[in-house]
Point group: C2
Chain length 231, copies 2
DNA sequence: AATTTAGATTGATTTAAATCATCTTTATAG
DNA sequence: CTATAAAGATGATTTAAATCAATCTAAATT
């Protein structure tokens, strides 16, 4: 079978889901024979909310936004996903549909693996099943935190938190490329794009950050953290 | 060992977690020998957020509120749990702490089972592990829905939704006992208690519901649903 | 380079909802 | 059976944040 796979084999892949380390070599081989790689350009949709879920998708490289399409076309960005992330959504085990959409932010390399294969492995490899449970729990935990943040913090706190999250967990630097538009930044923090613009401006005025259209530099991390926590 | 267990044996228990049906008789016996029943009076705390998590708790009867303690003592009620519910929280697999609190609303009978026992079973019984994954997914799915509802619906919609949820999923009747205070109803729908009072009043004025201090009757389900969906 | 278009910015206005203050009712304890 | 506390109700006020309406880039396309 013709394959455009960039990664020669799961055996040598270091960017995929950590839980695959728990597979036996036979199981890994099974996955390797049934996987399908694809690349996506920025803006392209990788998973469409509501469509039938047949594959789990693993990000090998690049960044993607995980978002839900809510009422009257309003989106809410749940997470920014990077390499080693399993993308599937809880709907898979509820109604066999993807419960969120995923779109590429940067160029993305991803690996598709059918749920049939994964289910079979879950049924024979308890360690792998446990890893699944841990993955689900971790995501659920983050979701609970997000719920609290979105419902209890004020706009300044939510935006500060988002900036710190980019800096700390994704780019590991005080200065980073802002890959989201103001609109998307609003979908991530549950506020109108105009509010995003205003608050970014305020943070600049107070010399806490320096922001351009497509970049952010954190100047006063302590102040930003205080705003984020007290928000 | 002395036991106050009300349920004589897991074998004959019909109110516990459905996933236990997947246990072999030996496994069920293991659970039965290591379980511990307890009852709680209304208001008593069953799980305290942040405390070390060593047991999964299963509701056998009664209703409980699952809530997170957020910033400056503000609570958010995540769910109203009834019999057959597994209570543990995603924190269990993240930092071995309960990530939410649970308090009895009515008199409650509950069963405590150590995570050690459950982990052991997960490691030998893949069907049971799959059931765990399904349970986590179902809860995560509900959480996503709640996030959308809380962030995108207006107060009227959120309150209407909560009332319909009580009617449809918990009491299975148009008329039911309102077990939550106005304050708690606010914590469930993310609004101030005064707003709850006001909106309940409005719904009464429009003859959509009839509400007393401790009861609600839905008079016009269609209108309530419209408010819930459009809200 | 000129034109078009999408995104960003800014200020003015409106709106939803919280907060505050007060009063009333209901429940609880002495 | 009162006294006290707790919860509920109501109106006035404030606040946060959305919306609206222009205007202003910056990027893409012709």
């Amino acid at each position: 079978m013709f394959s455009e796979n960039v990664v020669s084999s799961c055996e040598f892949c270091t960017n995929c889901w950590s839980n695959f380390k728990k597979l036996s070599s036979e199981e890994r081989d099974l996955v390797n024979r049934n996987r399908y790689e694809a690349s996506f350009k920025p803006g392209e949709i990788i998973i469409k909310q509501g469509s039938p879920a047949s594959n789990a998708i693993f990000l090998l490289s690049g960044l993607a936004k995980v978002y839900m399409e809510g009422y009257s076309g309003r989106n809410i960005i749940l997470d920014i996903a990077e390499h080693a992330t399993l993308l599937a959504g809880p709907g898979v085990h509820v109604n066999s549909r993807y419960s969120y959409s995923v779109a590429a932010i940067t160029q993305i390399q991803a690996c598709f693996i059918s749920f049939n294969i994964l289910s079979n492995i879950i049924n024979v490899n308890p360690q792998f099943a446990s890893g699944f449970i841990e993955d689900l729990s971790g995501k659920s935990y983050k979701m609970h935190q997000k719920l609290i943040s979105l419902t209890q913090k004020k706009m300044h706190g939510r935006l500060a938190e988002a900036l710190l999250n980019f800096s700390d967990n994704i780019f590991h630097s005080d200065e980073f490329e802002m890959l989201l538009s103001r609109q998307e930044l609003g979908e991530l923090t549950n506020m109108a794009k105009e509010s995003v613009v205003r608050i970014l401006g305020e943070l600049e005025d107070e010399n806490i950050i320096r922001a351009t259209l497509r970049s952010v530099k954190i100047l006063d991390r302590d102040k930003l953290r205080i705003i984020s926590v007290k928000g």
